[in-house]
Amino acid sequence: MFSQQIVNGILLGSMYALLAISYTLVLGVLNMLNLAQGEILTAGALVACAILSAGGSMPAALFASVLVCIALSLLVEFFCLRLPRGDTQVVTTIAMGMILQNVYTGLWGSESIKFRGLSSGFAIRISTLEFNATQILLLAITAALMIALSLLIDRSRFGREMRALSDNRTAARVSGVNIGRVTVLTFALSGLIAGISGVMAGMVFTSVTAFTGGTIGDKAMVAMVIGGTGSAFGAGIAGIILGIVEILSVGYLGAEYREIVVFPLLILFLWLRPSGIFGKGRVERA
């Protein structure tokens, strides 16, 4: 019972982890908090859902979800970051989130829509634990993405440019980093991750609503802070911890206690260790 809950927690948490990584990419590199990120994920989930319901295959659904999320991510970059002058991203991304959410309610209504996941009887048993095909797939995708993203950020030329930009914008520019290109690519990457997380959300919850992304988004932000802003690895670990905490709260306290531990945990971190578990203690003070 307990170990099965841990497994469920890890599954839920891997979704928070992925979205937290996409938050931390944009925030760490561009110093921008994209409050529409959760709503972008919702678009991916809804589109994937529609394709699956129409009899489309899972890869097709995943592809469409990623495509839509990248497009929306670039839309946010253009209308919320590039066009407005000054420090208004919080407001413009809030407005964009509101626009997206109401577009979904307009098109799909606010009822929850069934998500047709994988229907294979395949399962692995390890003593009393049972993993079905969906769960194995989700864990594999999360692990692969976390490793790939860490490598991308730490080893690749693009990653070096992203880190240069995050350290010092001016210095990066004079060293020949194409800031516009890195910005657009970072947003595209965060859209890609949101698209994958959207399909994962559908699989984990087995249904999607216009509000799915908002709820996941809030927790992903918490995971990002607890993990240490700017650290993809930290965001991943913290996301999984949050998932486990949430499932255990439901299991041992009751369903209405789902969120009662998660958010106070963040307030506690803000008081005691604002740089997060894996942060380098390099939190900008006001």
């Binding site: 208004t88 809030i94 407005a95 964009m96 626009i99 969120e259 958010f263 803000l270 003070r285 006001a286």
Partner: protein, 270 residues
């Protein structure tokens, strides 16, 4: 006045209070996306005090406001020392936390909500709104108002000039939370029923947008924004959910075209 216009007028006043609660915090160069949380604290504390303990309406609303102010300090103090992003995330989480606490406690009625509050007279809501506006006008004329503008313009320069930056930021934040608490108390006693989902994150974000639309540098801007925010959905009633889409597009367009909002003029100090 018939019932429809009375309701619209009260909604307008509560929206004004909400907008001002965001305005006060914005004025000091910070942003809170958790004012629905402070509103919830004000609403629940006022509602419980008046239903369970039989406190009169103005006193219970004032007590709710004080409780919200206290929460403002608890959330604000750690986050204020950090850059704005943490404040945004901290305030969003605070709102979620308050919602989940209201969801499990018996005294708040859990998911069933809190009911049985006596109806607040419109006069009281008018008095609260006028009082808050008058106080803010007074504040802006004092030393505090100048300090706040200095902190917002350049907090390091302000600190160098002897302004106690942290104190000013905490004060502004606490004041904003207190105003949101009044809005919550009035709301709870006007609708006579509140439930946790009344105070969602999207309610918080809806409180920020009018201020940006109307103009974040002037009290009049916040009031105008609240008026637009109250009337526009009524005018666009035919558009059902799409009206919020129109509203969102309007806000982004304003930010791009007129970054200071509809009423822009920064006040000048000779």
């Amino acid at each position: 006045m018939n019932v429809y216009y009375t309701g619209l007028f009260v909604t307008f006043l509560i929206n004004v209070l909400c907008a001002l609660s965001v305005y006060v915090i914005l004025k000091s160069g910070q942003i809170s996306v958790g004012n629905a949380g402070f509103m919830a604290v004000g609403g629940y504390v006022a509602g419980i005090l008046s239903t369970v303990y039989g406190l009169g309406i103005p006193a219970s609303v004032a007590a709710g406001s004080a409780a919200a102010a206290l929460c403002g300090a608890v959330v604000g103090i750690p986050a204020l020392r950090l850059k704005g992003t943490y404040l945004v995330i901290g305030t969003i989480s605070f709102t979620a936390m308050i919602r989940s606490i209201a969801q499990v406690l018996d005294i708040t009625g859990g998911a069933m909500g809190l009911k049985g509050m006596k109806r607040i007279g419109i006069l009281w809501i008018v008095i609260f709104a006028v009082l808050v506006i008058a106080l803010l006008f007074l504040f802006e004329k004092t030393r505090y108002g100048l300090d706040v503008e200095a902190v917002a313009a350049d907090s390091e320069a302000a600190a160098a000039a002897g302004v106690r930056v942290i104190l000013i930021k905490v004060l502004s934040f606490t004041l904003g939370a207190a105003i949101a608490g009044i809005a919550g108390g009035c709301y709870a006693h006007w609708t006579q029923y509140i439930e946790p989902s009344d105070f969602s994150t999207s309610v918080s974000t809806m409180m920020v947008l009018p201020v940006i639309l109307g103009g974040r540098n002037r009290i009049a801007g916040a009031v105008l924004g609240a008026a637009v925010f109250t009337i526009l959905p009524e005018l666009l009633r035919f558009a059902s959910v799409w009206r919020m889409v129109i509203y969102g597009v309007l806000v982004i367009a304003i930010v791009i075209v007129k970054p200071d909002g509809l009423i822009s003029g920064r006040k000048r100090h000779a």
